[in-house]
């Protein structure tokens, strides 16, 4: 059982009390508890079960403009005494920083709305096993599938965020996640792919059969890939890859990257950075949303932001510290975005595939090839050659490269947005990128 609010609140207020006693002028604390139960299957047999019970606390103490923090998984009172005394001592010895402070009181969340983020249902391991049996049976239907690994996790979490300014709030969240990874083989090649479903409520999870079949189909179609030549070509990003491009955009507009001057989007507010048709929203109050929240990790209320309006950048993602540095108010984005997404484009997935006589459809990228300082992008990729709207054959061992400054201006989006992750994009086409192959 995940610890209740009362237990977490008691620990939090104990810590705030200690911080004050040892000489801190302000302090803040987060106490969290997370209980997960996972069952893994492999080739239709039980492979692993894993239960984790994680308690954690992190405390930041201030003495005027000096700041330091500690974190621990040991919540026994005598350990907290030792750690908080050490933290205050370290704070005294850390140089001042004029921008250090708790968030402005008038920006803090005043109420905690029920965003339907907690499902009390408990799914026993035997029920997880039933689900995984069905999933793996659907996944291994085709003889070309030679290995299946799948997993089911139930997670229940609870937290309290409190500070010496009187803020104290928190709430429970839950998630149910199923995934399937399959390996397919033919004479020439061996390939792997996956499918995944994660929801706040158990009843919303994809069915085992859908998930298993989807994973297997996506793997089998990758068999016997070819390598193509180097050329400039339109790239279509599958939704699961397109969302990564949106995440890179989010890191490039984080106030820390902006205030440090290490982003290619510095000083671009109110300028056009995407093509006219592009809108980007960050909406924290979607019911059952995987990124939904009432306030950020400092307690600042999070409202919906239209980050990009008709191609024009409207906001950075601002926390208290970097906000003060940039002379801007926090917009509740300490810790990043909530439910971030591109609004739908105007054409269907099918029309997008059809819009070029030849294009590459990318289903997987590997490598850490996004540089937010320069905007340069270069990653390894796997996918399919598309000709006149048809998938011709699988492709691998290629790279795709470009610069985000140009790529953002050449985006066309389909109208197939789904809320599968916390960050989501419709299928995306970018013209003018370079493929390196043979």
């Amino acid at each position: 059982m995940v610890k209740d609010q009362e237990f977490l609140e008691k620990k939090a207020s104990y810590c705030l009390g200690l911080a004050k006693k040892f000489g801190a002028t302000e302090s803040s604390v987060i106490v969290n508890n997370s209980v997960s139960e996972t069952v893994n299957f492999r080739n239709e047999k039980l492979d692993e079960s894993n239960r984790s019970d994680d308690l954690g606390i992190s405390i930041t103490t201030y003495i005027g403009k000096k700041k330091s923090s500690i974190s621990s998984s040991n919540l026994l009172d005598d350990n907290l005494n030792i750690l908080i005394e050490k933290c205050v001592e370290t704070t005294k010895n850390t140089p001042e920083d004029e921008f250090n402070s708790l968030p402005d009181k008038n920006l803090l969340a005043k109420e905690v709305k029920d965003l339907c983020l907690y499902d009390d249902t408990h799914i026993e391991n035997d029920q997880k096993i039933d689900y995984l049996k069905k999933l793996e049976s659907a996944a291994s239907n085709d003889k070309k599938i030679v290995n299946t690994e799948s997993s089911f996790t139930q997670n229940k979490s609870n937290f309290i965020l409190a500070n010496s300014g009187g803020f104290c709030a928190g709430y429970k969240t839950s998630s149910f996640t199923a995934s399937s990874v399959t390996v397919a083989k033919d004479e020439k090649s061996m390939e792997r792919d996956y499918e995944y479903s994660s929801k706040c409520f158990l009843k919303d999870l994809d069915t085992a059969e859908e998930l298993g079949k989807q994973a297997a189909d996506q793997t089998i179609r990758k068999l016997s890939p070819k390598k193509i030549g180097s050329e400039k070509i339109a790239i279509i990003f599958d939704k699961r890859i397109a969302k990564g491009i949106l995440s890179t955009f989010a890191s490039a507009i984080s106030s820390s990257a902006i205030s440090r001057g290490t982003s290619f989007l510095k000083d671009k507010v109110n300028q056009k950075i995407f093509s006219d048709t592009i809108n980007v929203l960050d909406k924290p109050d979607i019911l059952k949303g995987l990124g939904s929240r009432n306030f950020d990790s400092e307690g600042v209320k999070t409202d919906t932001l239209k980050l990009v309006d008709q191609g024009i950048l409207k906001h950075y993602l601002i926390d208290t510290y970097n906000g003060k540095k940039l002379n801007l108010k926090s917009n509740g984005r300490c810790g990043g975005t909530s439910n971030l997404y591109f609004e739908n484009g105007n054409i269907s997935f099918k029309d997008l595939l059809n819009s070029k006589s030849k294009s590459l459809y990318i289903t997987e990228t590997i490598g850490h090839g996004s540089n937010i300082v320069t905007g340069d992008y270069s990653v390894g990729a796997t996918g399919f050659l598309v000709e006149n709207g048809e998938f011709k054959y699988p492709i691998n061992e290629i790279t795709i490269a470009g610069n985000f400054k140009d790529m953002f201006k050449n985006i066309t989006l389909a109208n197939d947005l789904e809320f599968k992750y916390a960050t989501n994009s419709p299928t995306m086409m970018i013209e003018g990128m370079v493929v390196a192959g043979k």
Partner: protein, 470 residues
């Protein structure tokens, strides 16, 4: 050494009883206890941005029956908590009928000292050095617009209690010092990053103003990148410099030679044991026994002493890296490669210090042998799809080679290749093997562990360079 039972209502003998009771008729398993203390001090944007301290305590209880692993972990070392974990394990492994394997090799060798690097240097001294780093760099070059420097220090105490009460312990120090600079000139921004680290005190890396050479290297890389032009796109010859570029070895063959993927036959290497997988002259080892290195371990996280494992000898595939589970199922012995990020995670076979040994050619000969290609000196990181065997790594410092001569620097680009065939494309192996500076972290199944790499300069006949210039 931590006494995990000192402040607990659970005594050591009670714990031993619960462990032995839970693991009877299991094939293997243990209680893993861990107490780690770590600190991070960060200078950024002319200020000490962060000073933080973490103390983490917990246990992970594992029971294995045939291929099935049951695992349960908690932060609370108490009678209740361990009993609950024991119940969890028993409920997963309903009908066990194995024989517990009590055998575990022993060694008295230690590869690092029992120290706590955090306590060895005061906070004020560490802050002073970070400020000196900042001042030193900013006074060196007007185009420096950002300096970030940080210290990371850690002491991790582990104790492994096996069925029957056999106990194995280790205390592991680890530090890392990093410097990153950003330059801006004529509207262009570029960064350079460099760092050092290992299982020693901070002073082993910082004495005699050694930190200045770390700063100089970060600045040098950033300056080179300011002059870089777009990288070429397509297949060409690639010369890799010695040391850190060995993440090629780590990604291209290292992961594919880990026992779990080969037992499951999902690695592109699973049917290549004893076969030729690399050019003659290519020998690759994974070594946990080098003094004070980042990837070294006295014992692994199952208690097995580490060793130097020969993976590829003169081109022939000789061994996989094994933990106890995969070794038992593949009827071989553990190579001391069973590792976990911390008590929250299960053990997996992992790399330690992965090294390609020296040959007898010079880097000069390699450059001269290339008409059109690139010379890659420094890398940011890499990734591999172990099933298809395709791997990438990202250059952070590279040059074009034209007619046997090193030309202009080129922008960061991803290089992609095929693991099982790339080492057959190695046509020259240098005589200049070098270890990396001690900064690598390897990720697998969501777990990060410290690792090292090493290699001499090598010439690869054909690799795809992911630039933008056609």
């Amino acid at each position: 050494m931590s006494n995990f039972f000192e402040k607990s209502d659970l005594s050591r003998s009670e714990a031993e009883n619960i462990i032995s009771d839970t693991l009877q008729k299991c094939d293997d398993g243990e209680l893993y206890l861990e107490n780690s203390k770590s600190e991070s001090i960060l200078l950024d944007d002319n200020k000490i941005k962060n000073s933080s301290y973490n103390s983490d305590l917990g246990f992970g209880f594992r029971a294995i029956s045939d291929e099935v692993v049951a695992y349960s972990h908690s932060n609370e070392i108490s009678k209740n908590s361990l009993k609950q974990s024991s119940e969890n394990l028993k409920s997963t492994l309903k009908s066990v009928k194995g024989t517990y394997n009590h055998e575990i090799p022993k060694s008295n060798k230690k590869y690092y000292e029992n120290i706590n690097p955090i306590e060895q240097k005061s906070l004020n001294e560490k802050i002073k050095i970070l400020n000196e780093v900042n001042n030193y760099l900013r006074s060196k070059d007007d185009s420096i617009k950002q300096v970030t420097a940080n210290f990371l220090g850690e002491q991790k105490s582990v104790e492994i209690i096996r069925s029957g009460g056999e106990t194995l312990t280790d205390v592991r120090p680890l530090i890392r010092f990093n410097v990153s600079v950003m330059l801006e000139k004529n509207g262009r921004k570029e960064t350079g990053v460099y760092g050092v680290g290992g299982r020693q005190s901070y002073d082993s890396y910082l004495k005699d103003d050694n930190w200045k050479s770390v700063c100089d290297e970060a600045l040098r890389i950033a300056s080179v990148n300011l002059e870089s032009k777009p990288a070429p796109a397509g297949e060409m010859k690639v010369v890799l410099g010695p040391g850190w570029p060995a993440i090629l070895i780590h990604e291209a063959v290292g992961h594919g030679l880990e026992g779990d993927f080969n037992r499951k036959k999902t690695s592109a290497f699973h049917n290549l044991m004893g076969r030729k997988v690399a050019s003659e002259g290519v020998t690759i080892v994974d070594d946990g026994t080098i003094d004070n290195r980042r990837g070294s371990l006295t014992i692994d996280d199952e208690g097995t002493p580490t060793e130097k494992t020969v993976l590829i000898e003169n081109g022939i595939l000789k061994n996989f890296m094994q933990d106890r589970l995969n070794a038992r199922l593949m009827k071989t012995k553990s190579t001391g490669s069973g590792r976990r990020e911390n008590y929250r995670h299960i053990v997996l076979p992992r790399m330690r210090n992965t090294m390609m040994l020296s040959g007898n050619q010079t880097q000069d000969e390699m450059i001269k042998a290339v008409d059109k290609g690139i010379f890659a000196v420094s890398f940011g990181g890499g990734q591999v799809d172990i099933t298809s065997g395709k791997f990438v790594f990202n250059c952070t410092e590279a040059y074009e080679i034209v007619n046997g001569k090193i030309g202009s620097p080129i922008k960061g680009a991803t290089l992609i290749g095929d693991g099982p065939s790339i080492l057959k494309e190695v046509s020259m192996v240098g005589n200049d093997m070098m270890m990396d500076p001690g900064i690598g972290t390897c990720g697998k199944a969501g777990q990060g562990v410290p690792v090292g790499v090493a290699q001499p300069s090598i010439l690869i006949n054909k690799m795809t360079v992911g630039g933008t210039k056609l």
